[in-house]
Amino acid sequence: MDHSPSPALNVRGLSVTFGTRQGPVPAVVDVDLDVAPGELVALLGESGSGKSVTARAVMGLSTGNASVTAEQIRLGDTDLLALPESEHRKLRGARMSLVFQDALSALNPVLSIGDQIGELFRTHRGMSRRQARAEAVNLLGQVGIPAPTRRVNDYPHQFSGGMRQRILIAMAIALRPELIIADEPTTALDVTVQAQILELLDSLRRELNMAVLLITHDLGVVSEVADRILVMYAGRIVESGTADDLLSRPGHPYTQALLRSVPQADTRGQELYAIPGSPPSPANQPSGCPFHPRCTWAVDECKTTRPLLTLLAGGRAAACHRTEEVLDAAVTG
């Protein structure tokens, strides 16, 4: 794969299993993940597929009932697996940050925006109150908050949803991290605000060379901003490759079906392609290929043998027994 020699994020064999009263729930299984500096990688999947669990595991923020295992999780040259929690905590916000979906609950309602951003500079950079406030104003301007000098003393509830999301991003980039993980940062926002946020993420990686892992379920968003795509289904990566390759010529039936099911201008009024059934829950996974009960390509082998994620020509990979045929079908139409 033609990634830059030292990826900002490098994950191998990440698995997360939750202990529940009903028994162990394998929410994420054997995930590999690379993001290079300046690259925007989309982790695409439906609700429950394991995207947020992956993000939290990488950040070292897994919940108490989670058991996280991995062969490797590296941030630049730092081995995160070997790091004690106290060291890990110091990295969060400074070298890697997570932008949550729900901006309102992620901000402290009783602290002004200026104090919340300023605190980052005071604790991590040892700045004075005044310096920290000046930096906060600077950042607010950078993420497109109008009149930042006046608004820096306002509280979270005084901002619109889109502005709060931009404030969260401001906090995430305050210390110039190498990696930003944005977990559905625009799902709750209107399209005009979404466009601003996506543009902001795009400019951050271009101008500051940050690595961005964008978690989303929206194919339109992916098509607009992603360099590479990882498709997640039932806790596993089922396809990966460049956005150009995957969107024009999907190699996994699930990716293909998703693409066919979105309404397009030229299919207006026709029946949409509908994937039968619904996504499995991690506690209750089908045998063989987890997609087989919903797959139009499925053959007998799919019911019994789980296809491995297999490297294909052009640096892409897919986990399907019939990938070659799926790829050929995409070319012949």
Binding site: S160, V191, H217, S248, R268
Partner: protein, 343 residues
């Protein structure tokens, strides 16, 4: 009596709704949620409604089905006004206009079986007092929405989101409405399940000649299902027209901005969003909507007149079927056509 195609089945005129909220800085706040909306719906037609969060879509929907009363205005169904009807009259009118709700997880009572849920409207409206007949009807309705009738003794939590939305649709269809008002019917569903429900709604609509109001914030879904599309901004209609006209040649500057910001799956057009028509500033507060044209604070074409005078919905571009509320709609449309040619 089935309406014939082209008959007006629902005619809403001059709808207003203001909510009195909590205490703001200046005493009690008032939210002008719907401010002067007119809509007519022909038998069997589908009307899409798009607009951003808080613009009044749900408020409008709830008035159309008789769940909320407008402060002023009329909603005529079969020559009678749902907005002012009471008692048995209201019940009779409500029967003809049914709603499908956004969230299939909270809109169904978890303690009721599917049989009870779908049969309830029949009981309330005293249409089928006989339990056996009701059971048959529920089985029929389940089959209609693609669910096995054997499932009628189960509870909502035993179904997936898509299946629950099918149950909600079956319940709305139980009274054989002439109008189905769907408020974001697929927004809460998994991407891979949305197409199932979109197809089902369209299929039912065609087969049963039901008129449909389809509310969504996903512009590509509305384009797919709607014959006509209405665009709302802060409680008012910005533009209404044939769906193709509105999407291909938007006349209102807000419609243009909205469409240009909505991502489409088209890798060749990557960067389209970066070239979008920007909106100035942030959305105004609905407690204090701008005077004149409510969009003028964000509009790239705004002039003095826009802050003073409210533009009326007028036919634009020589097309009697497409109206837009903008003082400079002709200019704006010419601009959109130029952009379309350049692209």
């Amino acid at each position: 009596m089935q309406p014939s195609p082209g008959d007006v089945v629902l005619d809403a005129q001059n709808l207003h709704k203001t909510f009195r909220g909590g205490r703001g800085q200046a005493g009690r706040t008032r939210v002008s949620a719907v401010d002067g909306i007119n809509l007519t719906l022909a038998a069997g037609e589908s009307l899409g409604i798009v607009g951003e969060s808080g613009c009044g879509k749900t408020t409008l929907a709830r008035m159309l089905v008789g769940l909320d009363r407008p402060d002023t205005g009329t909603i005529m169904v079969h020559g009678r006004d749902i907005a002012h009807a009471r008692g048995g009259d209201l019940r009779e009118l409500r029967r003809r206009v049914q709603m499908v709700f956004q969230d299939p997880y909270t809109s169904l009572d978890p303690r009721m079986t599917v049989l009870e849920l779908i049969g309830e409207p029949l009981v309330v409206h005293r249409l089928m007092p006989n339990a056996a007949a009701r059971r048959d009807r529920v089985a029929e309705l389940l089959a209609l929405v693609g669910l096995a009738p054997e499932l009628m003794n189960r509870y909502p939590h035993q179904f997936s989101g898509g299946q629950r939305q099918r149950i909600g649709i079956a319940r709305a269809l139980a009274l054989e409405p002439e109008v189905l008002v769907c408020d974001e019917p697929v927004s809460a569903l998994d991407v891979s399940v949305q197409a199932q429900v979109v197809n089902l709604l369209r299929d039912l609509q065609k087969r049963m000649n039901i008129a449909m109001v389809f509310i969504a914030h996903d512009l590509s879904v509305v384009r797919h299902v709607a014959d006509r599309t209405a665009v709302m901004y802060l409680g008012r209609l910005a533009e209404v027209g044939e769906t193709d006209t509105v999407y291909d040649q938007p006349a209102h500057p807000y419609t243009q901005a909205l469409l240009s910001a909505s991502p489409v799956v088209d890798r060749a057009n990557r960067g389209r969003m970066a070239n979008r028509i920007p909106l100035a500033g942030d959305p105004p507060s609905p407690t204090d909507p701008p005077a004149g044209c409510r969009f003028h604070t964000r509009c790239r074409l705004s002039k003095d007149l826009c802050g003073r005078e409210q533009p009326q919905l007028l036919a634009i571009g020589g097309d009697a079927n497409r109206v837009a509320a903008c003082h400079f709609a002709d200019e704006s449309l010419a601009d959109a056509r130029e952009r379309a040619e350049a692209a």
